[in-house]
Amino acid sequence: MQRLGGSGRWDRVAFGTTFQIMMLEGIEVVFIVIAVGASGFGLLVPASLGALAALLAVILLGVVVHRPLAKVPEHTLKFIVGALLSAFGSFWVGEGVGLDWPGADWSVLGLIVWFLVMAQFAVSLCRMQSARRAVDVGD
């Protein structure tokens, strides 16, 4: 990204990437607020205020932790965030379709570990495939 973004303080690629991701997350927030608001009379305003409070908390958190987080390698960050999102997504899909989880909400922790292990397994498989292909090309 640094290579593509050009020189100077204004990085267009960083701006475009962040804009796309934030737009996607923003749309998710709108869906969540509408879903919660549709659950009962008078829930839309508290749901909207909750989303607004979360936005402010995220901005504050970003200001506080952006420097230490910038030191974490990009791929490591994506790997961990991907596992977290997969775990939470799976849990909420299960909740949404009425499935039970062992340990109720605590099972999210188990799902995080599960997705981290499976993602690491996928990485190993992908590396093996790449190595095998490199050997095939070499022959």
Binding site: Q20, M23, L24, S86, S90, F91, V93, G94, V97, L99, D100, W101, P102, S107, L111, W114, F115, M118, A119, F121, A122, V123, L125, C126, Q129, S130
Partner: protein
């Protein structure tokens, strides 16, 4: 209208990066919703079955991309 097509594809791409991956997840969730209520499985195992299937789809998607 090329710009419109590009914009639509970009917006779709925000939600669906890998069509086979997305379709597999939808099919698996539908199977879980339709079949698990009739299966004689303890209730607290039903969530983990969903999680196992989703992780398997994730691994398949990753290895399929690695093969390309």
């Amino acid at each position: 209208m090329c710009w419109l097509r590009t914009a639509v594809l970009e917006i779709l791409g925000l939600f669906v990066d890998d069509a086979i991956f997305a379709a597999s997840i939808l099919v698996w969730v539908m199977l879980v919703v339709l079949l698990l209520p009739h299966a004689h499985i303890r209730a607290e195992f039903k969530g983990p079955i969903l999680g196992i299937g989703l992780a398997a789809i994730l691994v398949e998607s990753a290895t399929r991309h690695a093969r390309k």
